[in-house]
């Protein structure tokens, strides 16, 4: 599909609005197993994205995604800033305005390697990666109803972090006590994937 200026703006605004709307929920999740600031940090970062969405979307998709990433790096203020910033900046390196499902999958795969390196983390450690890797699996499969399948995969994957024990980040200090709570980063990733899928659905 063609991701023109109008789609880019809608994408950035929708993602930002969804994250901002769920900021309290993200902080509640983080309060259970971390320092309780995930929602506050993500809201600060995505408010900055929302405020500049118009300007950011003027540039081609690659450049505008890098702009979103840089904004998150500078504004979020927690580890999630560099992690989500790296995700968006890396996507921006490989994507152009015309995006096929296979190209999106390749771009996400490269971006997830960058996020893994940034966070020194991997799948199974109760992090955002535990949502984004199953999402990549759906992108790789392609096929019909992709938006609905992406959302379902993200939802299930976020829920699957509940019984996991945290290995990285502040939650890892809790050891066994991190079990039984959804990872806040997994939830914020689910929100972002859901927003992107909804926008795609409207334009596909």
């Amino acid at each position: 599909m063609m991701i023109d200026r109008q789609v880019r703006k809608l994408l950035f605004e929708t993602v930002a609005q969804r994250v901002i709307a769920s900021a309290d929920e993200l902080s509640d999740l983080d309060r259970a197993i971390g320092d309780g600031d995930h929602g506050i940090n993500m809201r600060r970062g995505f408010e900055a994205v929302l405020a500049t969405a118009d300007e950011l979307s003027e540039k081609p998709l690659g450049e505008s995604l890098k702009g979103v990433g840089t904004t998150l790096v500078m504004k979020v203020g927690g580890a999630s800033g560099p992690l989500y910033g790296t995700l968006f900046m890396s996507l921006g390196k490989s994507l152009t305005d015309e995006v096929s499902c296979a190209q999106a999958a390749d771009a996400v795969a490269a971006a997830l390697e960058a996020v893994k390196a940034r966070g020194k983390s991997d799948v199974g450690q109760k992090t955002m990666l535990d949502v984004l890797f199953p999402v990549l699996g759906v992108l790789r499969e392609g096929g019909v109803d992709i938006a609905a399948r992406l959302k379902a995969a993200a939802r299930t994957a976020a829920e699957n972090t509940i019984p996991m024990r945290a290995i990285r980040g502040r939650a890892s200090f809790l050891g066994e006590r991190s079990i039984g709570h959804m990872d806040p980063g997994a939830r914020s990733s689910e929100l972002i994937v859901g927003a992107v899928a909804d926008v795609m659905e409207g334009f596909a």
């Binding site: 600060r44 203020g77 927690g78 800033g81 560099p82 790296t86 940034r118 502040r170």
Partner: protein
């Protein structure tokens, strides 16, 4: 050039960063270029890439800069800040895997002796339990 390796202190708390910087200054005075920062972009507990980049600039030495951090986000944001530096500086800044207060004081003491960046880092990291 006789300039010493610089030290940067990055904490989630501005009070911790400032307090640590005072302890470092008490030990080495003005001999070691020093920068510190703490708090998120709104001044709450957290760290800010922009503030870390400024602190690196403040502590800049041609012989390099060693960064001491407290918790995870401080480390991730410091690594991000290093990557965003001009290329000529990027390779001369390291994050030490050491406790922030003890590490900063030990690293600064080593730096004051004219030690290399690698030696400064090693000295700070000797404090890390294995």
């Amino acid at each position: 050039m006789s300039e010493n390796v610089g030290i940067v202190i990055v904490s989630h708390s501005a009070d911790v960063a400032r307090g640590t910087a005072l302890m470092v200054e008490q030990m080495v005075g003005p001999e070691v270029p020093l920068g510190w920062c703490g708090g998120d972009p709104d001044g709450g507990l957290g760290t800010s890439v922009e503030a870390i980049m400024k602190a690196i600039d403040q502590a800049w030495s041609e012989r390099g800069v060693a960064i001491l951090v407290d918790l995870g986000g401080a480390e991730t944001n410091s690594e991000m800040a290093i990557e965003m530096l001009p290329e000529a500086r990027r390779g001369r800044v390291v994050v030490c895997n050491a406790p922030v207060v003890e590490g900063a004081v030990m690293a600064a003491t080593e730096a004051a002796s004219g030690a290399t960046l690698e030696a400064v880092r090693r000295t700070a990291e000797e404090l890390t339990p294995v």
